[in-house]
């Protein structure tokens, strides 16, 4: 039995999943409407270009549709989709080439200025907030591009978004201790990469 669009909005996740499993596209569209932003959020932790994020999100929903028969409603649909999204993006990223080491000479003028201002504690005076955020996000992406997909995942979730270790473990299917160890190593690798950038660009504390 198909539900009217208004009824679909009121339907529970489990009901939507049941209808979608039976081939009801409207029910599946409602699932996408509800959890599209969540899936996009996960995908945008791994990819920055809109086209890549959309491609990843599309793949997540196509996989989700295929795997719907395995969803038994024991956990939340959002959690189930988040897990599919995390693993799909992780696999996509693993198939891509990693950026070689980023050196200070490769930094853009804005990125160098951001680092300089950040270390001088005067970033607020140098750029408007929006622009400052963009430059920092650009630089973050370049630094994260050197990291392994697993490092990138834990850094963005645990350090960038304060996601609890337990939640990251649920998203990835890893044990909590694996998440902690991965985060410890990833944090050190990122810190060392940034330290090199600061040292080579002559913007470490000695110069300020």
């Amino acid at each position: 039995m198909r539900l009217l669009p208004e009824d679909l909005k009121q339907a529970s996740d489990l009901e939507l999943a049941r209808l979608a499993r039976g081939g009801d596209e409207s029910a599946f569209a409602e699932i996408m409407r509800r959890y599209g932003p969540r899936v996009f959020r996960v995908a945008s932790r791994f990819f920055r270009q809109r086209a890549q994020v959309e491609e990843a999100a599309q793949e997540v929903f196509l996989k989700a549709f295929t795997q719907l028969p395995s969803y038994e409603g024991r956990g939340s649909l959002e959690g189930w989709l988040t897990r599919i999204a995390t693993n799909t993006c992780l696999n996509m990223l693993r198939g891509m080439k990693r950026r070689p080491e980023l050196t200070a000479s490769e930094l853009t003028e804005d990125e160098s200025a951001w680092l300089e201002a950040k270390m001088a504690g005067a970033a607020e005076e140098r750029h408007r907030a929006e622009e400052r955020g963009r430059v920092a996000a650009d630089l973050a992406e370049r630094v994260l591009g050197m990291m392994s997909p697993d490092d990138r995942l834990v850094l963005t979730l645990v350090d960038g978004e304060d996601t609890p270790v337990k939640e990251v473990a649920e998203m990835t299917g890893w044990s909590e201790s694996k998440v902690k160890v991965q985060a410890f190593r990833a944090r050190r690798r990122m810190r060392e990469a940034v330290e090199k950038l600061l040292a080579f660009s002559g913007r470490d504390a000695d110069r300020i």
């Binding site: 996408m32 409407r33 599209g36 809109r50 920092a136 810190r191 940034v194």
Partner: protein, 166 residues
């Protein structure tokens, strides 16, 4: 804490999640230790970078759902096609192109030479059937021209040979 480096603390916990006491201890140690000060500065920058990156938001475009549903239909259509038909669809183009190539080669081998022979004789046949046609007139002219040349050539040959004798 004064004697111990603080890099392990920096690696163990995100900077933003360190308590006030821990942070104060890290700062105190970093103030007197170059290595840890560099590590602390880098951790500070790394933390800012990650937070700025995490703050970026990307919403699905209005056409996202439509695109996914279209891709879904396409995928289902492929999956619902019987395997043999799918194989034929995949290999069909190859088989058809091979058959076309064979037919073309056969045509080039057996048909084209006879077409050339036919083309050569067609004009003569047409001319014979209609003696007043343009083709017939041109053929007659060609034959006449051939005969005149032949006759002149004969005469020239005779005169030259006579002159030579005299």
């Amino acid at each position: 804490m004064k004697q111990e480096h603080v890099t392990a603390i920096l690696d163990d916990t995100p900077l933003g999640q360190l308590g006030e006491g821990e942070l104060a201890a890290v700062r105190a140690h970093a103030a007197g230790c170059d290595e840890c000060r560099r590590a602390y500065d880098a951790a500070l920058v790394a933390s800012s970078l990650l937070r700025e990156r995490a703050a970026e938001e990307l919403e699905p475009s209005p056409f996202f759902q439509t695109r996914v549903l279209a891709a879904l239909r396409e995928r289902r259509a492929v999956e619902e096609t019987p395997p043999l038909l799918r194989l034929w669809r995949t290999a069909g183009a190859l088989v058809s192109s091979m058959a076309a190539t064979v037919a073309l080669l056969a045509g080039l081998t057996f048909v084209v030479p006879s077409v050339q022979t036919t083309t050569e004789t067609t004009d003569e046949v047409a001319a014979a059937s209609d003696p007043f046609s343009v083709d017939a007139a041109m053929l007659a002219q060609d034959n006449a021209a051939d005969e005149e040349i032949n006759y002149e050539q004969v005469l020239t040959t005779i005169y030259e040979s006579d002159g030579g004798n005299e």
